[in-house]
Subunit: 333 residues, 2 copies
DNA sequence: TTGTATGCGTTATCAG
DNA sequence: CTGATAACGCATACAA
């Protein structure tokens, strides 16, 4: 057990020959303190290695400066990218990100939010899973801000950031159709996440309006390996699809690799593939995947900006568009 | 400005008809409290939605439960994976990760450590950059634990976790040599990170012992795009290399894609490639990259375990081995 | 086992 | 502009 010895404002005050209040004011932006006093305080603080105790400050101000990021599968390219953007923009707003990993099922989102409350986080941003209404109500009642990204569910007092998934999926269908594709498939995981389901429904809906039925296959986690399995199932069908829209890029990469290496298909000649997210790998020469870019920086921007605004009682909503990125995995363009 | 209203231990005490201390004891593991009192307290806490204020508790115990992760380029596969492992294992140890992004140069590692001190973090784990000695000394003097991963520099009182980079690089050379390769190259970024340089030196050293000179090329960030440029430089040389060892997998992916698509080379027949890290993409069908796996879980394990041990004054060191993963990008095996 | 009193480091309030 | 004093919510030594 290491007894930590931190230098306090009192130590600085003693050394500088001023009161504790003077020290406090020196480190509070916008407080009135004479140049002479400030100089003495800063000098003493420097010499002693003093740093304001944010725990105590948070206790007083009832504002910790902590923002809780609740997320699973951090190592997924899209998630990692979003976390990067969020942590950067939070820092710009003088806030600091607490990371709560909900990979383990027993560490549920509800527990994570409880932890956020314990640390008196100014806000929580949920990127994975969906918290229970009772716990989100508690957050809001406690005055904690709540942001739900791609969760697509109503929560009193929270900000919901979503994409126009259905519209994007519709555009994907049209692109395939113009490319001369005739047998359409949708490759999905069995996660059942609202945004993934919206893409599936939007794609099928658009096809139906053209009198075309889509083959839907769902399997496993939303990862590369599931894409492999999905491709094996889809490409061994009697009427082999010539267009596969994947719920996200990770699945698409698995589908493309399997189509090429196992089934010896040429992309886009034999098979057109599109994905969603625009992860870095989509632009790699091996894939050149046509996909929809999530506006990651915009999402982070909207979330952080909302945190700076005064609280309103009813729920806010923010709908953003995904940009179609044309690459070589779909003919034409 | 939202005035946050949290329920305090006093509120719970009033409702339960007991003293504040009884409430405190109920939520302090190992404190002596009667079953009857505990029941009343828990009931009242449940009803009111009470959560212990970790800020105040940290203030008292001088132990915040916060551990600071200092890292740049979070969206890189290897980093994201390490962060995932660390955050998970920290949670198992009842600690919580604060993420500090040092992407922006003005947000240096030193500033990050200062922030960690301000939040009275129990420890800081540095994954990127190298803090100044004055600031690490301050950390240690303040009783804050410090872990440096792959930083390869001595710091009083810190734990340094490193890999046997040189030995791994030596094994890479031997593998190439056995595969019949004759013209060796090393593809590095110009980041100059100790671990990257150690791999370069180890590879060159091993070659020198066989009387072979290695062509070394360094360029840009340690990312895919730099791999593209490096391949273009190396593969247009008069004596084209038939073996390229890359400082990490991201560079290797860029090198492989460029060798195949731009230079129409077959891997491993015309060119053998190996990397380092064993990121997920290395196992994808398009790459099948022979590489060295960083023991990510072990690294996280060692770091977290060390945090639970009593502090010692001198510095600790932990050297781990990277495991050679044979795949198809090198002949033989 | 329980309650009372005190202190942790900070900021806000108020008198000077 | 400055200094004293009262909170903030919690844990603990001590007395009961």
């Amino acid at each position: 057990m290491s007894r930590k010895i931190f230098v306090s404002a009192k130590d600085v005050a003693d050394r500088a020959g001023v009161s504790r209040s003077a020290v406090s004011r020196t480190f509070t932006p916008g407080a009135s303190v004479s140049e002479e006093t400030r100089r003495k305080v800063v000098e003493a603080a420097e010499a002693l290695g003093y740093h304001v105790n944010h725990l105590a400050r948070g206790l007083m101000r009832n504002e910790s400066g902590l923002v809780c990021l609740i997320v699973s599968e951090i190592d997924t390219p899209y998630r990692a990218n979003l976390i990067r953007a969020l942590s950067r923009q939070l820092q710009n707003a003088s806030k600091i990100a607490m990371l709560i990993n909900t990979d383990r099922p027993d560490k549920s989102v509800d527990d994570a939010l409880r932890l956020a409350i314990s640390y008196r986080a100014d806000a929580s941003i949920v990127l994975s899973g969906m918290p229970d209404k009772s716990i989100t109500d508690l957050c809001v009642k406690s005055g904690q801000r709540l942001v739900l990204i791609n969760r697509d569910e109503q929560r009193e007092g929270a900000l919901m950031i979503n994409l126009h998934d259905r519209e994007a999926a519709r555009r994907a269908f049209i692109a395939f159709h113009r490319a001369g594709c005739r047998r359409f498939a949708f490759a999905n995981s069995d996660a059942g996440t609202p945004s993934l389901m919206a893409r599936e429904e939007g794609f099928c809906q658009a096809a139906r309006e053209h009198g075309i039925e889509v083959v839907v296959e769902r399997f496993g986690a939303t990862r590369y390996q599931s894409g492999v399995t999905l491709a094996q199932r889809l490409l061994t069908r009697e009427a082999r699809p010539d267009a596969i829209f994947c719920a996200n890029d990770l699945l698409a990469c698995g589908v493309m690799d399997t189509a090429r290496h196992q089934f010896k298909l040429a992309i886009p000649d034999d098979l057109c593939v599109a994905g969603f997210d625009d992860i870095e790998q989509a632009s790699w020469a091996s894939y050149q995947l046509t996909t929809f870019a999530q506006p990651v920086e915009r999402i982070a921007e909207e979330a952080v900006a909302w945190l700076g605004q005064p609280m309103v009682s009813d729920n806010s909503s923010c709908k953003l568009s995904a940009e179609l990125i044309w690459r070589g995995s779909v003919r034409g363009g």
